[in-house]
Symmetry: C2
Subunit: 394 residues, 2 copies
């Protein structure tokens, strides 16, 4: 058996970015991956501006709270100001540009004005309530780097720089193939010995959520010719191929032989539970990831093993997920494999779903994350354990 | 000022589900909200089946490791088996149905077979390596409840029950209106005194990510007639209205008067930083949420204050987000308002972005989450603090 770290390192060494670039409109950018750095062409803010509704003046012109200053102009946000007449104040609003000559803004709550002139109670230091030009971002600064996956706030930031079109990596096309003679589709009638195909729906949704274009190739019969045809099609239409089932050592598992005939396949016995059998290779040059057929094993291996490889193929900058520490509300003996226990978080700690068998897909839906239990380590009630909430995989 | 908790409680008391239901195909279900419970019509697995590739037999028939058993049938997954002939074994594969009469499966690694008969080294207890019918889910069990927002694994689970169409809540339609004479769109040229509209892109992406249908009504001029027209249109086309800017006490803020004339508006001074001014009311009966115009204030208030209300309006079952504990790598004095500090997590703890001004949108992009600093509480380097990674808001 190889450890999870070893499996990840092997995959890492064989990964490279498999997609080229395209220009898209900014408002189609959520979840997309930058292909170039975002460099600011402007200063943000473009000019000194007011952080408050109030009055702008030159600090030196204030002569105490009983000396009125004439109001010489009124500056709304979006209106270019005239230079400030010496010895006067300008009525100014939040976001409005500071006029040349003014060096401080006093909030209106500290002022009494009659429309013509204003009495100012107290003036803070030079620069108070002024947001300086370029404070947020200086012209020429790199604000986001190639490889970054765009979140809502990143789109806001790019918009604030005036950029309407961005250069992103084309979505990675991932073919999904389920194998298994026993699988029927939801909506059909399952006969004796048949079960509904759940991996197909789970994987399509997961891969789609990660920003990939899913090429859904359905279910193949347990027939080498059919499998060969489908995998050949997958290698033509996709950048990477993900299959479920068909790669253990059983006599009915034809996928291994077919992939071998079309390229190369290595079966890895990864020390991960659920999820031991994992296959990696290529089909006519297209990377091939063979996940176990058990739904929970497929779920865990796609999150833990396939995801980093697919992110690398997409060219997404991603880091190892840092688990959070929570108290275990259960006891659990360790096993020779690293276990991913399905759990639910609460204020007191994490509860474990009682049935951790790899066949029980409900265990992944019951809670909101997984505890990572290292090989050979026991967990005792009250221990601080490593929890990965599912949302962290998004 | 009112506390964040008080603001949330007020909104909660005025919220109700604003959408009806629709039937959709399962593979369009990611991120949608169940309108009805998912009740299983079947047992999962539908019959006892093998957890291993190996041999199925009756426990009593084993006579020791030197007594061969005749192989009486071969059962692949998806093939209905014949009842087991007494005193024989059946070759069986993972996922295949256990034949009547067999009560244990021995993994093939513990067997030596010549095609006709098999020698079995050791047999564990009755039931070993058999996944019992209904182990995962019993017929009639509720597996997911109305109000649940569907994740990839939930779609897998529903598929495993044979369900191809699901009853979900219609997506909440949320109108987004930016106000501010100074705003120009990315791609255009910002003249003197003008700034690029970032809130529009930030909010559209965020609301879209939460599963809402965004009705983008662009930017309105600072003109009461135009604002009135746009808000009236918003109330017709959307279930809820979100605006940015225009609701402080400044003279240029016409939104307040317009909303008052069309319905009702309350300005709340919420003890939240960034983000103090927040308005709630209705426009011709449609809920109205007025966010601050500052991008970071808009970002924080939409996450912390608007999101729970919108989720309630969508009918999503959601819980208070539980922060994770991490060590602060900074010192920070408390303020009279609850602060949401933009931070970045690492193995050693969380670093703070040095510029926490509400105008600096880059602060939200630099890191991966926020530290919640309670009003009046100081943070000292090394303290365990409450961190909310941004992904937890998804």
């Amino acid at each position: 058996m190889i450890s999870v770290e070893e499996a990840l390192a092997r995959l890492k060494s064989q990964s490279r970015v498999l997609v080229d670039e395209q220009k898209i409109k900014l408002d189609e950018g959520l979840g997309r991956v930058l292909a170039s750095d975002i460099v600011s062409g402007i200063n943000v803010p473009p000019a000194d501006n007011s952080a408050m509704d109030g009055y702008a003046l030159r600090w030196e012109d204030w002569r105490g709270s009983d000396h009125a200053l004439k109001i010489s102009q009124r500056i709304a946000a979006g209106t270019p100001p005239a230079p400030l007449t010496a010895g006067t104040a300008a009525r100014i609003f939040t976001g409005a540009e500071i006029p040349d000559g003014a060096d401080v803004v006093v909030m209106q709550e500290k002022c009494r004005a009659d429309g013509q002139s204003v009495l100012i109670e107290v003036v803070r230091d030079v620069g108070a309530n002024i947001r300086p030009k370029g404070q947020d971002i200086r012209q020429g600064a790199t604000v986001l780097q190639a490889g970054h996956r765009l979140r809502a706030q990143d789109l806001g930031l790019i918009a604030s720089l005036g950029i309407a079109r961005i250069n992103v990596r084309r979505r990675l096309r991932v073919a999904v193939v389920s194998t298994g003679e026993e699988l029927v589709e939801p909506g059909d009638i399952a006969g004796p010995g048949q079960i509904y195909n759940s991996n197909r729906y789970l994987l399509k949704a997961m891969l789609g959520e990660w920003g990939f274009d899913v090429v859904d190739l359905g279910v193949t019969a347990d027939d080498p010719d059919v499998i060969s045809e489908v995998l050949t099609q997958a290698s033509r239409e996709a950048d990477a191929i993900v299959t479920t089932g068909g790669v253990s050592v059983g006599e009915e598992d034809h996928v291994k032989a077919v992939v071998e005939s079309l390229g190369r396949i290595d079966l890895w016995r990864v020390a991960i539970k659920p999820g031991k059998p994992f296959a990696f290779g290529d089909v006519l040059g297209t990377p091939f990831l063979g996940l176990p057929g058990n739904p929970v094993s497929a779920f865990v291996t796609v999150l833990v093993i396939a995801r980093p490889f697919l992110f690398d193929s997409q060219g997404v900058e991603h880091h190892e997920i840092l688990p959070v520490k929570q108290h275990a509300l259960f006891d659990k003996k360790g096993s020779p494999r690293q276990e991913y226990l399905r759990v639910r978080s609460g204020t007191g700690g994490v509860e474990i779903f009682p049935q951790q068998s790899s066949g029980v897909l409900f265990s992944t839906c019951w809670g909101d994350g997984m505890v990572v239990q290292k090989a050979g380590e026991n967990i005792t009630h009250g221990d601080l354990v490593d929890v990965i909430p599912y949302v962290m995989f998004n």
